[in-house]
């Protein structure tokens, strides 16, 4: 197998004053024709920098200082900008994580695909149109003629990513670089895109450099795997070897941290009382008004969920399923349209803010994005004591409680006087959990609380959530799109689709024998089913 891409001892320097000298150091990897090579690593591992260096898309401040990159035997690091332009699109192409921002919103899909042909070939307009149509058919987009005339916002996320792939492959490049192409997509869409990439590779013999953080995806499509950590390659080899017999301790740790899709046995719940109860909860959004047609969106319909004390109930579903709407209604960050939400039998679905405020300490929430969950201008101490002081606790008492809780979540009390930007994402999420616990809530809502974290940190935060749930006997409402995470932490699971609950039951039962077709489709789409380990057991 001829090498399409050969990266040899590549070193890329970062500008002075960065946290390390080199973005990547001594990176060597090869991609053969018709081969899928996955580069995996956590954030900051240098995997994207490697891809951008190959494409010649690095920012001006970041420079390759050593090594070589050969594309079909041609050196890229010394290529002129003009030559790089000829190669990009024709011999190598790239697709990105977020197809909405990677496509130009004011040009049709057809125009964008044809642009590559206009730049690189002398085809007539009719030939270009025919070629674009052919490519769009090849990526299995429905109604190709209509797609060519559509604008990006008229397509779904999966369709946009297909259109991106069509644009990248229109000139049959030897190398396709995919930078986390499925990370922003729902799991069922992801499965389709992965299938498409594998199929196109087999049919056209394209070499694929696939960058991802998700070992499930790696297990699904990779021929060979390159594991990167802090800018260096720590391990590479055939997928089977790396995934099943990892040699390097970092690879072992990464794979060990991937939650398994098989739920662990959980201690059976005693007959604890139901704390949180929603009954026929509905939330509809009406847009439009005076000048536009009324448009009603049903974000949640007749959602009925119980959570017992000490129990973790997971709400899983894809984007737009209404799972976050339910969480935000329960926290009363948005007002439900109808239905009941009760803690200990006291309905607060329609309570006014004045009546509600004293009740707020009973339900606390941890959000997805640890970088935006803490006010950047306030010290950790002031963020932590805000709630208890609001509810009438003395400042000194609140501070001493904050110290205890920081210790509980694994941070030193010195963290109190520091600002959020001085902490990593995982540490901030610990602070957010501590903040939620400050008022001794009965219900803790975790809205995608571990989704933004690297897999190794994710495992630790999951364990912490499970620990505090057991310790404080909390009712934990856990919102996630990630079946692996749900399998590990939830006692019961509620599956939502398009605003309605389609199935709910004990985690083990649902994972063993899903009943609803949507649940079955969700499980079937989960990549890399056999890998992963138990986090909490």
């Amino acid at each position: 197998m001829a090498d399409v891409l050969a990266v040899d001892r590549l070193t890329v320097a970062l500008p002075p004053g960065s946290d390390r000298d080199h973005a990547v150091e001594d990176v060597s990897l090869k991609v053969g024709a018709g081969e899928i090579v996955c580069v995996v690593g956590e954030s900051g591992s240098g995997k994207s920098v490697t891809a951008f260096t190959v494409m010649g898309l690095l920012p001006r401040e970041v420079k390759p200082v050593g090594g070589s990159i050969l594309l079909e035997g041609e050196e890229l690091l010394s290529a002129t900008p003009r030559r790089m332009r000829e190669l990009r699109g024709a011999r190598m192409a790239m697709i990105f994580q977020e197809p909405m921002t990677a496509l130009n919103p004011v040009k049709t899909i057809g125009d964008q695909i044809e642009e590559t042909l206009t730049v690189h070939t002398n085809m007539s307009s009719a030939e270009r149109r025919a070629r674009a149509l052919e490519t769009v058919e090849a990526v299995h987009l429905p109604d190709p003629q209509r797609i060519l005339n559509a604008y990006p916002h008229q397509l779904s996320g999966g369709q946009r990513q297909r259109a991106m792939i069509a644009g990248a492959l229109v000139l049959d490049p030897a190398l396709l670089i995919a930078d986390e192409p499925t990370t922003a997509l729902d799991v069922t869409t992801q499965a389709q895109i992965l299938k498409l990439v594998a199929e196109l590779r087999a049919r056209r013999g394209t070499g694929v450099l696939f960058i991802t953080h998700d070992f499930g995806v790696v297990a699904e499509i990779a021929h060979r795997v390159v594991v990167m950590q802090k800018g260096r390659v720590v391990e590479q080899g055939p997928a089977d070897d790396v995934l099943n017999r990892p040699q390097h301790s970092y690879t072992q740790m990464l794979i060990g941290a991937v939650p398994s899709l098989t739920p662990p046995a959980r201690a059976p719940l005693d007959a604890s009382p139901v704390v949180l109860q929603t009954k026929n909860l509905c939330k509809t959004y009406a847009s439009g008004g005076l000048f536009q047609k009324k448009h009603v969106t049903r974000a949640a319909q007749n959602v009925t969920i119980d959570v017992r004390r000490g129990e973790t109930v997971g709400i899983v579903g894809e984007s737009g399923s209404g799972k976050s709407t339910v969480a935000r209604c329960v926290a009363r960050l948005i007002d439900p349209t109808s239905g009941e939400i009760a803690i200990d039998g006291v309905d607060y679905a329609k309570a006014s803010e004045r009546v509600l405020r004293p009740q707020r300490k009973r339900m606390q929430i941890v959000f997805q994005d640890p970088y935006r969950s803490l006010n950047p201008r306030r010290t950790v101490a002031r963020s932590l004591i805000e709630a208890p002081v609001n509810f009438g606790m003395g400042e000194q008492a609140a501070l001493s409680r904050a110290r205890d809780l920081l210790a509980l979540v694994g941070l030193s009390p010195s963290a109190l006087d520091r600002y959020p930007h001085q902490f990593s994402g995982g540490q901030r999420q610990r602070i957010c959990i501590a903040r939620a616990l400050m008022v001794e809530p009965e219900v803790l809502i975790a809205d995608e609380a571990v989704s933004a974290l690297d897999v190794s940190v994710q495992a630790q935060v999951l364990k912490l959530l499970d620990d505090v749930r057991a310790r404080f006997h909390l009712a934990l409402l856990f919102i996630t799109h990630d079946l692996r995470v749900a399998a590990q932490i939830c006692d019961r699971i509620v599956v939502m689709q398009k605003g309605t609950v389609v199935e709910q039951g004990a985690t083990a039962e649902i994972f063993a024998a899903p009943q609803h077709p949507y649940t079955k489709a969700l499980f079937a789409a989960a990549p890399g089913k056999h890998i992963g380990s138990k986090v909490t057991a």
Partner: protein, 302 residues
């Protein structure tokens, strides 16, 4: 459970001292500082009463040597550095005293419109049901040409400094409101604001504690532009004869008085014109430089 390693992202060192070493901030600051001193110490800068007129000394050229008659009839020699106007008033004294009026108008208009705009903007951005109502009023205000609105407001009361300041500030308020509302609308969606809501923080505290600090930087920038435009509008109103009473030494009034003769005696308009141009230029340059410094979106990223 073990704590995670220290954060790997190095924190860029803060460089406060570099703030004043930037020429775009330093030079206008120094010039404006000098103008403030001039305004404060106007009586000690070799000036005479700016309203005193002398029919024998009309339309004298700059550098004219004449005498000044005091109230008790004694006469002292005096150099009219910038000449005199058509009523024989000393233009130098009027320009120096005019600095006071222009700076007071600029600063107070900026203060009044910022405070009112901030309050209205916070409420409109946060209280959803008030938003439509408040913003339509603001749209209505913005639809009226600001100068015409100011003229209308001045004519409602007796012309005076307070009336002029209010008349200039009111048309500027909608611009500040829009700015603050936009910031509030984006910040209120931040999870840390939602966390504060679930923490039971009362709404006024929430606004002041979590949302207001994000408005300060864009407001400072906006305030400088309001200040510059207020100085100009005051001159325009005075020039049109609807601002301060004509005997008040404002730069606009000096130019209004000199307008009819400026082909023969251009010094009537030249000197106050230089002062207005310099002041407004400095305030605008300072505002631009502050925006580059304070707006994180414009800051260069690596």
């Amino acid at each position: 459970m073990s704590a995670e390693p220290a954060p790997s992202i190095a924190i860029a060192p803060k460089r406060k001292s570099a703030f004043l070493s930037e020429p775009a901030i330093l030079i206008p600051s120094v010039v404006l500082g000098l103008l403030v001193l001039v305004a404060l110490f106007a009586p000690f800068l070799g000036t005479i009463d700016p309203t005193q007129f002398d029919p024998t000394l009309r339309n004298k050229l700059p550098g004219h040597v004449g005498t000044v008659r005091a109230l008790d009839g004694t006469e002292t020699p005096f150099v009219y550095r910038m000449g005199t106007d058509n009523l024989g008033r000393d233009i130098y004294s009027r320009v120096i005293y005019g600095t006071r009026i222009s700076l007071i108008v600029g600063a107070l208009v900026a203060l009044v419109s910022t405070i009112l705009g901030l309050t209205i903007g916070l409420v409109a951005g946060y209280v959803r049901w008030l938003d439509g109502f408040v913003m339509r009023i603001m749209d209505g205000l913005m639809a009226i040409p600001p100068i015409l609105l100011a003229i209308a407001l001045v004519s409602l009361s007796r012309a005076g400094l307070v009336a002029v300041i209010i008349a200039i500030a009111v048309p500027d308020i909608p611009r500040v409101v829009r700015l603050v509302r936009a910031v509030v609308l984006s910040i209120r969606e931040e999870p840390y604001v939602e966390a504060a809501i679930t923490a039971g923080t009362p709404t006024p505290t929430l606004l002041v504690r979590h949302i207001l600090p994000n408005c300060i930087a864009p407001l400072i920038v906006q305030a400088t532009f309001v200040c510059a435009s207020a100085i100009l509008v005051e001159s325009i109103l005075s020039f049109l004869g609807v601002g301060l009473p004509p005997e008040e030494p404002s730069w606009g009034n000096i130019m209004a008085a000199g307008r009819q003769y400026f082909r023969i005696f251009p010094h009537n308009i030249l000197f106050p014109g230089i002062f207005i141009a310099a002041t407004v230029l400095c305030v605008n340059v300072l505002g631009d430089a502050l925006r580059d410094r304070l707006d994180p979106k414009l800051r260069k990223r690596v």
